[in-house]
């Protein structure tokens, strides 16, 4: 049997983590590492210390060797169409080699060679505004159209919109970094993009098939994402959150970070606005991102023809009022001075023509990319 089953079995041990995995595989073959972790061979001094500090761990891993031997893991991975890639394998991503947080084992669905192209990460909050999602979709599509590989996670909100955008371009081959096993799409509502990314680009996880989407695994994937990007664009982010962890990881790796500015009172833009205040470059258009990659920004124009009929009065006033921030019906009535009936008619027209959407009683302006979000 090849090393795959042993690598997967190691990564699949309960309470295994990236540091422990790196240590046991350091200067050892997969078989040697597995024997050492599961009590067949003597533990290294470091591993012996780990075992001493974590009571029951040595016994647990010995038991797991019996319950789920390497050939079980080899069959599981093969059954889920998941490729196991160790650090010594030729196809292990060059960008991760030598990275301080490099995962010792990768689980892969799709084609790792897409990483040979120029790569831009697009990430952001799950609680995004409609405008944020549309911006992510536009960047994703226009970058993919320019031959750039879009790297993101697969969370809802900004991440999913970036992927949908990239997949919209016929040449799009996006990269998805996820925090659970590759056999089960998570979150469920993104199953379609999960499968399409695996088909056209590549899905990468450091956890074997069957690993549940536990909360602690999600921050860990951010370092892999940061290491795989040349430029990282944050579209919307709160004051705290996974996106800012990724920014931190990116800055440590000298990856160029860019942020999309938002309205000063928008919670979803608090983090990105703070980044820009700290000196991060703003990304207003796809051309800005291409420039950061050292490419000619003029190649990227708006790729979609805007077929929507231009709003006339009084609809145009409503669009203008909602342009900077989401508005409630009450505030729109106050701003425009329209009667309720006229307002209802105008809003219905604008919604039908694709200029605004209603979201929990808030009206937001959307652009021609809204249908991808």
């Amino acid at each position: 049997m090849s090393a795959d089953g042993y690598l997967a079995a190691l990564a699949g041990l309960q309470l295994m983590n990236p540091n422990r995995l790196r240590h046991v595989l350091h200067n050892r073959t997969a078989v040697e590492a597995f024997d050492m972790a599961t009590g067949v061979a003597d533990p290294s001094p470091v591993l012996a210390t780990i075992f001493r500090k974590n009571e029951g761990l040595a016994r647990l891993w010995r038991q797991q060797r019996a319950d789920h031997p390497p050939d079980f893991w080899a069959a599981t991975c093969a059954g889920a169409d998941v490729q196991v890639v160790g650090e010594s394998d030729a196809c292990y991503p060059a960008q991760l080699r030598g990275d301080p947080g490099a995962p010792a084992v990768l689980f892969v669905r799709g084609d790792l060679s897409v990483l040979d192209a120029r790569r831009v990460g697009i990430i952001g909050t799950r609680n995004a505004t409609q405008q944020g999602r549309a911006t992510a979709a536009r960047f994703g599509a226009e970058l993919a159209d320019a031959g750039i590989v879009v790297v993101s996670r697969l969370a809802r909100g900004i991440d999913a919109a970036a992927h949908r955008g990239a997949l919209h371009a016929p040449t799009g081959r996006p990269v998805g970094i996820v925090g659970n096993g590759l056999d089960t799409p998570y979150p469920k509502q993104n199953t379609d993009i999960w499968n399409e990314v695996a088909e056209r680009g590549v899905l990468i996880s450091e956890w074997p098939p069957g690993t549940r989407p536990d909360a602690f695994r999600f921050p860990l994937r951010n370092r892999i994402l940061a290491a795989l990007c040349e430029v990282l664009v944050v579209v919307e982010s709160r004051e705290k959150g996974g996106s800012l962890i990724t920014v931190h990881e990116a800055i440590n790796r000298s990856v160029v970070v860019m942020a999309v500015p938002g309205a000063v009172n928008s919670r979803a833009s608090a983090g990105t606005n703070a980044l820009i205040a700290d000196g991060v470059q703003p990304a207003l258009e796809t051309a800005d991102i291409l420039m950061a990659l050292g490419l000619d920004g003029r190649r990227a124009g708006r790729q979609r023809f805007d077929a929507r009929p231009q709003p006339s009065e009084p609809q145009a006033d409503i669009v203008a009022a909602c342009r900077n921030e989401p508005r409630t019906l009450d505030s729109l009535l106050l701003i425009t001075g329209l009667a309720l009936g006229d307002m209802a008619l105008a809003l219905a027209r604008l919604e039908r023509d694709g200029w605004i959407i209603e979201n929990g009683g808030w009206f937001e302006v959307v652009d021609e990319w809204a249908d991808l979000t």
């Binding site: 979150p187 928008s266 409630t328 929990g360």
Partner: protein, 207 residues
């Protein structure tokens, strides 16, 4: 019912039958008693557990949100004639407060509209059956086209369709010169008074 989403789903679903039939049957070992239960249900809830706010402000995770919203079944929600989003007033609105119409004035207008309905059809608009709606609340072509669009795009249920028509009837009755025919404006306002529950996921006016 304040904080209606905090009530047990079973309790809420038990209100479906009396809200439609206007009586309730209480069954014990020997006797069944039918009691009148004609009531007006007014309920309030937050858009989500954290209270929501502008798009992007919600802090709830998916599971939380789903659990909260699911407590109100679709059929219960569908039975509310009016579902209105109420927002926290902004700073500007709080400071530049212009006094609105007094409730006494509005109540007078409402009484007048009710009198008009009784006079026209012998009952209130909420009691109009489907066939009588055709007679007393005919919709013009533009309004009909809007409703067709909403129905075809699954943004309106069959029950919602009749409710929208009754609400639109009342909206027209509240005007200074009510017509028999219901126009598109009334239909659009009525649709706007049928808010959906989901705040962070993009859902139209389903139900």
């Amino acid at each position: 019912m304040d904080e209606i989403a905090e009530f047990a789903p079973k309790v809420l679903d038990n209100m479906r039958q009396p809200s439609e039939d206007r009586y309730i049957t209480v069954s014990r070992a020997r006797i069944h008693v039918r009691l009148p239960a004609d009531f007006l249900l007014v309920a309030a809830m937050n858009p989500c557990p954290c209270g929501g706010g502008a798009p992007g402000a919600c802090q709830c995770n998916d599971a939380h949100l789903q659990r909260y919203v699911r407590r109100l079944s679709g059929p219960i929600l569908d039975r509310f004639d009016l579902r209105v989003n109420v927002h926290r007033p902004g700073v500007e609105e709080l400071l530049s407060h212009e006094p609105g119409e007094s409730s006494a004035v509005v109540a007078e207008r409402v009484a007048e509209a009710r009198r008009l309905a009784e006079e026209r059809q012998g009952c209130l608009n909420s009691r109009l059956s489907g066939s009588r709606l055709d007679e007393f609340a005919p919709i013009d072509d533009a309004g009909r086209a809007v409703l067709r669009y909403e129905l075809e795009h699954d943004r309106l249920s069959a029950r919602g369709y009749h409710r929208i028509r009754r609400v639109a009837r009342s909206l027209v009755d509240l005007r200074s010169a009510p017509s028999l025919q219901i126009d598109e404006e009334a239909i659009q306002v009525a649709l706007g008074l049928r808010a959906s529950l989901n705040t962070t996921m993009r859902v139209g006016r389903v139900a």
